[in-house]
């Protein structure tokens, strides 16, 4: 029935993980300065799974996403291995990359105008993508465009096909960008704070829409946010980044109820929630480290209330896995690698 929803899944979920990143490092070196933006990130995503990357500004969330899609500027030094659906992303040539982006993997952003072309109608942009990647006829591509606008719940979809991006409200533009991203039914959707700029009543609509589409299409999603509430609403698993490292990772419920690492624990305590009126907020003193040098030992040590001599000795710190599915890089967490 539906062209978008009913196409068979190619990869089998259990066999190959959809995303496998190992020891990924990204360094920006210019004449004035070097920034060690990502420092040894390992990430796995199963097909059909939603992973939220949480972290403060500058912790390396967007750079990690861009590395996954090979969207970083040429002067960025990237090392480590990145595989998506069993394919080596690092080794891809230009042609393979063109296929990969918008086909297997698509990305949505906080600001939809960075992804939408202002001089083409919404309908044209979707149809164009489909024609390019799947070689459909113009008529078939136009039909797909209409179906996609209906899928992302844009009212009067038929009329909106002819609209230019600037003619849409913020919420509709965000939906249109999602429609463009889903045009070729990607296996992996990378979402970089797509709801951060939206109003509260619109944000929840877009979050629920994304969650529904993800379930219907069986997509894997990596969703970047700095909002714990957004993670609570959409994630299966959460990875918390600090200074370019994943310091803790685990199932959303377990991690939100009882973080293992002092940084996410501090973050949770510092987040204003209902019922905190009149109480003093707990804070994390200081600020994140400058990334002029790559951190070798625990990057959180200068701000950590539990710091001890061992923290500034152990390289990494190495990941601990106290229970299956949970990981924390902290010397105080029990459990082997």
């Amino acid at each position: 029935m539906s062209e978008v929803l009913d196409r068979p899944m190619t990869e089998k979920a259990a066999t190959v993980p959809l995303v496998r990143m190992r020891d990924v490092n990204v360094r920006f070196a210019t004449r004035d300065r070097t920034v060690h933006a990502v420092n040894g990130v390992d990430l796995d995503l199963a097909a059909g799974e939603v992973l939220c990357i949480l972290g403060e500004s500058g912790s390396g969330k967007s750079v990690t996403m861009r590395a996954l899609m090979r969207l970083l500027p040429k002067f960025a030094r990237v090392t480590g291995s990145i595989e998506v659906a069993g394919r080596d992303v690092v080794a891809m040539g230009e042609g393979a990359l063109q296929d990969f982006r918008g086909g297997d993997v698509a990305m949505i952003f906080q600001e939809p105008m960075t992804a939408l072309d202002p001089v083409f109608t919404i309908g044209r942009q979707i149809a164009e993508t489909v024609q390019r990647h799947e070689g459909l006829s113009r008529a078939a591509a136009d039909a797909r465009a209409l179906e996609l606008l209906e899928l992302v719940q844009i009212p009067s979809a038929k009329r909106r096909l002819a609209a230019y991006p600037h003619e849409l409200s913020g919420g509709l533009r965000q939906r249109a960008m999602i429609a463009v991203a889903l045009a070729c039914r990607p296996k992996l959707l990378l979402a970089d704070e797509p709801t951060t700029a939206l109003d509260a009543t619109v944000q929840i609509q877009v979050l629920l829409l994304l969650r529904r589409l993800q379930e219907q299409m069986g997509m894997g999603v990596i969703f970047v946010t700095h909002d714990l509430g957004v993670a609570g609403e959409i994630a299966d698993r959460v990875a918390v980044m600090y200074a370019g490292k994943v310091v803790e990772e685990g199932p959303v419920q377990a991690l939100m109820r009882g973080p293992l690492h002092p940084y996410p624990r501090g973050l949770l305590g510092a987040t204003v929630q209902p019922g905190m009126r009149g109480k003093r907020l707990t804070t994390i003193p200081g600020a994140p480290p400058s990334l002029d040098l790559a951190p070798t030992t625990c990057p959180f040590a200068p701000r950590c209330p539990e710091v001890e001599p061992a923290c500034t000795v152990e390289v990494g710190p190495r990941p601990r896995r106290p229970v299956p599915g949970r990981m924390a890089r902290c010397v105080h967490v029990a459990g082997g690698a």
């Binding site: 913020g170 009543t201 609570g232 419920q253 929630q273 804070t283």
Partner: protein
């Protein structure tokens, strides 16, 4: 003694609201065509009235474009209202010598503002100490004295003067810059501070530091705040009373607990229900509202929320709902809250 060093005395006594805002209006013409004729009007602030009591924090919430910042700019008198009046501690603001009241210059000293964008509001070429001392010097304070005061304020906002006073804005983090902005707003010893999204650009761990600081400074200097934010949790945390705006109007207003525990206006109810659940066990299936907020250029007739309201009835399009008093200073502008309004559920909510 210079005026900048004389904290303004309480004139009207504790029962006199520090600020009374009456029927404030500001419409922006949109010009177009060959001759720049007015083709439409943005009703940014359209008949807003409220009071701010001495020593309290009034929170203002509402979605983008509902008129929060325009209200703040009007209260600051950074722009003139089309109509409406401000009464500060019992005195009309900006009235002339014949009519009595508070001259604008004096009012502006007693009311200060902190903006969201911590970078844009500081002069990049001035060390922060000089930025803080600038306004007092304009008001006639000697250089050495103004600097001494700036250093005291830096210490009060948690930035050790010895290491921070001579730094430039680009040498500070976002949270540190916002502390400087707060110090600068306090340099003239204001009585009322308007904070327009003061923590929205900050990370959570820094946001908590700045919120704690705001609570401390309020206590220490006996301040009154108007706190604008789109973050409903932050507004609940910091406010004594809350005003909810929708498309240039006040939808609901009242004590913080009344608004958050017993919201009466369908918009407030939907706004609160739109907060993402921190607990993955409490995920929603349906969004509380559909669609985007409409455009303030041609707001709907009658109740402006009716195009999205699940309880809208014909009366809602015909008549603008008057604010109904629900007891204890809790007001809601909805026909359902107003007995005898003609809405089938009218009076159900009345006290």
């Amino acid at each position: 003694m210079s005026i900048a060093h004389t904290p303004s005395a309480d004139r009207g006594g504790p029962a006199q609201p520090l600020l009374l805002v009456q029927d404030l209006k500001k419409h922006f013409p949109i010009r177009g065509g060959l001759f720049g004729a007015t083709v439409a009007t943005v009703r940014a602030v359209d008949g807003v009235s409220f009071s701010v009591l001495k020593g309290e924090t009034l929170g203002i919430v509402g979605e983008s474009g509902c008129g929060k910042s325009t209200t703040a700019r009007l209260v600051m008198r950074l722009m003139d209202p089309d109509s409406g009046s401000l009464i500060f501690d019992g005195e009309g603001v900006g009235q002339n010598a014949q009519t009595g009241g508070l001259p604008l210059k004096e009012y502006r000293r007693q009311v200060q503002m902190v903006f969201q964008d911590s970078y844009a509001s500081l002069n990049p070429r001035l060390p922060i100490e000089d930025s803080i001392a600038f306004a007092p010097k304009v008001h006639g304070v000697r250089d050495a004295e103004a600097r001494g005061r700036a250093r005291e304020l830096l210490a009060a906002v948690g930035l050790a003067p010895a290491s921070f006073a001579r730094r430039y804005p680009h040498e500070l983090s976002g949270g540190q810059r916002q502390r400087v902005n707060i110090a600068r707003a306090l340099a003239l010893q204001p009585r009322l501070v308007l904070l327009d999204e003061p923590v929205s650009a900050l990370d959570k761990s820094v946001e908590a530091q700045v919120l704690n600081l705001l609570v401390d400074l309020k206590e220490k200097f006996g301040l009154t705040y108007i706190f604008i934010s789109h973050d409903l949790n932050v507004v609940q945390y910091i406010s004594d009373r809350v005003m909810v705006m929708y498309l240039g109007e006040v939808a609901e207003m009242g004590p913080v607990d009344a608004i958050y525990d017993r919201p009466a206006h369908p918009y407030t109810q939907a706004l609160l229900a739109s907060r993402p659940a921190m607990d993955p066990g409490k995920r929603r299936e349906e969004p509380p509202l559909t669609g985007d907020p409409p455009n303030p250029i041609n707001p709907p007739s009658g109740c402006r929320f009716r195009t999205r309201c699940p309880h809208a009835e014909p009366i809602c399009a015909e008549r603008k709902p008057a604010a109904a008093e629900l007891g204890g200073g809790h007001l809601a502008a909805c026909h359902m809250a107003l007995p005898g309004s003609g809405h089938s559920q009218a009076g159900r909510l009345a006290a």
